[in-house]
Amino acid sequence: MTAPTTPATTPRRGQGRPALALVATEARLLLREPGTLFWIIAFPAALLTVLFLIPSFREADADLGGLRVVDLYLPVAVILSALTAGVQTMPATLATYREQGVLKRIATTPARPWQLLAAQWVVHGVAVLAGSVLAVVLGVTAFGIDVPGSPAAYLLVLVLALLAMLSLGGVIAGVAPSTRIAATISTILYFPLMFTAGVWLPVQVMPGLLGTIVEATPLGAAARGLDAAAAGDWPDTQHLLVLVVWTVGLAALSARYFRWK
């Protein structure tokens, strides 16, 4: 028996760190997807720019508590980025990986398929944060939007919303038997979620029961939380609680349904 236990040639770098290697690889692959990068990183800033170019949207409105429409849309734009990453691109990528046997191949190695899922979360999460920072910086420097009054709360709400959306994406990737079905589920969920984020009508001006229902959804609560944080207040406990419950629940479901076969 002569099986080499010591390497006969020089070992290459990065040995035995599958999780980190997978993050590096998935980051590199995300950079090769210009469409995805646009929707996650550039779109929030682009949306804000378009809205700012509409004259009436840059005028303070007494009905909006003296804010301008463009002020209200900064949180919306940021949430949209998290929504697109979590519900559209991340589950589409994972469903493709399962369908094409990438997860199966990873399962044959010392790395684990869930480490690839985690790597997807990390790279999409970082991309959303980059898109958010870009939108906030542009809004503050070019469009006269106030710096979030409570940056820590702003970041907390954003991260919770992001985790809720990535978990939802994990559930989609887990339950969908094929990439086509994953794409269908994503599309069905995308538009109602955009509505709850306040894309067409800001959440804080939604009337009565509608407003109550939307504030019980993850993105509705996130929109209200970001508004509060932008104004320098700590978000309502109720909104934070809604976000935490959705995030934990969806994360548990996503772990439950994740499978590589």
Partner: protein
């Protein structure tokens, strides 16, 4: 030392029994070929050894480890090449090799491995742009980049052109020489004959035979083929009546006799007594293909 031990393996998918009571033993450094018709349970057996599928009954041990319970330790020892496993579409060959090397403590030089397999010109091509044969070869490279002590290779040379097949075989012979234990699922008898120490024939979920390639051929009722040109015409009927002769045929003056080893001597004796000298006499084994088909057919008849 036994490297792979499979005992009483059973796996069902719904009402379909994929494998039933499969026993296999592979010694350290041995190359076991797994033969059998499509859907016979070969891939299921390999996936159970790889720890990708949990058996319904029976035990699997690789170097004494349970591939499911001792997942991490087992994965460090075993390299697996599967059918139907892909890679990220935009990952290049070079990046894939680096990624998979990073999963192991003492990987091989992936670039050198790729070059050995004729992928040297394709290192910076994306996976989606590779041909079927190139994808097959990168799969082999990835399964071996971690210097596995056990390599499970499922249809190693499917879709490869003859030159690539030679490169792959040379590589398998090299790792075998280094002491790697190999389980090789194949449909190619030439591959089985060249690379394997023993062959397991799996048919309809069960092990129908395990033997060396020569032993498997020897199990055939008619393991020998002799051909010759008789200097003058000889009675085919008379030859066919000799003990142990299974088949006699004549084409263009050349006679072919298929039969047992003893039949060869009887034929020569008969020719001698008839005063017919056989010229260009050739005696060889029937092919592994013939033996394989005979075994699969006979196991079908037994269960029919």
């Amino acid at each position: 030392m036994t490297m792979i031990e499979v005992r009483g393996l059973r796996k069902t998918y719904g009402s379909t029994v994929a494998v039933d009571r499969v026993d296999l033993e592979v010694a350290e450094g041995e190359v076991l070929g797994v033969l059998g018709p499509n859907g016979a349970g070969k891939s299921t057996t390999v996936e159970c050894i790889a720890g990708l599928t949990s058996p319904d009954a029976g035990t699997v041990r690789v170097a004494g480890l349970d591939p499911i319970a001792d997942r991490d330790a087992a994965r460090r020892l075993v390299g697996v090449q599967l059918q139907e496993a892909g890679l990220q579409a935009k990952l290049t060959v070079r990046e894939a090799l680096r990624l998979f090397a990073s999963f192991h403590e003492h990987p091989r030089d992936g670039i050198e491995l790729a070059e050995r397999l004729g992928l040297g010109e394709r290192l910076d091509h994306r996976y989606a742009a590779l041909s079927g044969g190139q994808k097959q070869r990168i799969a082999i490279a990835l399964s071996l980049v971690g210097r596995p002590r056990v390599a499970l290779l499922d249809e190693l040379s499917t879709g490869l052109d003859p030159e690539s097949r030679r490169q792959v075989w040379d590589l398998v012979e090299e790792i075998r020489h280094d002491g790697t234990t190999i389980v090789l699922v194949t449909h190619l008898m030439e591959e089985a004959h060249r690379l394997c120490d023993r062959l397991a024939l799996i048919d309809r979920g069960q092990v129908a035979a395990v033997d060396t390639p020569a032993g498997l051929i020897g199990r055939s009722a008619a393991p020998t083929v002799m051909t010759f040109d008789p200097v003058r015409p000889v009675s085919v009927e008379a030859l066919a009546r000799l003990d142990g002769v299974a088949d006699v045929s004549e084409r263009g003056g050349r006679v072919q006799v298929v039969g047992t080893d003893d039949a060869v001597l009887l034929v020569l004796d008969h020719l001698g007594r008839s005063g017919v000298r056989p010229t260009r006499l050739r005696v060889s084994e029937t092919s592994l293909d013939d033996a394989y088909l005979a075994l699969v057919t006979s196991s079908e008849e037994e269960t029919a």
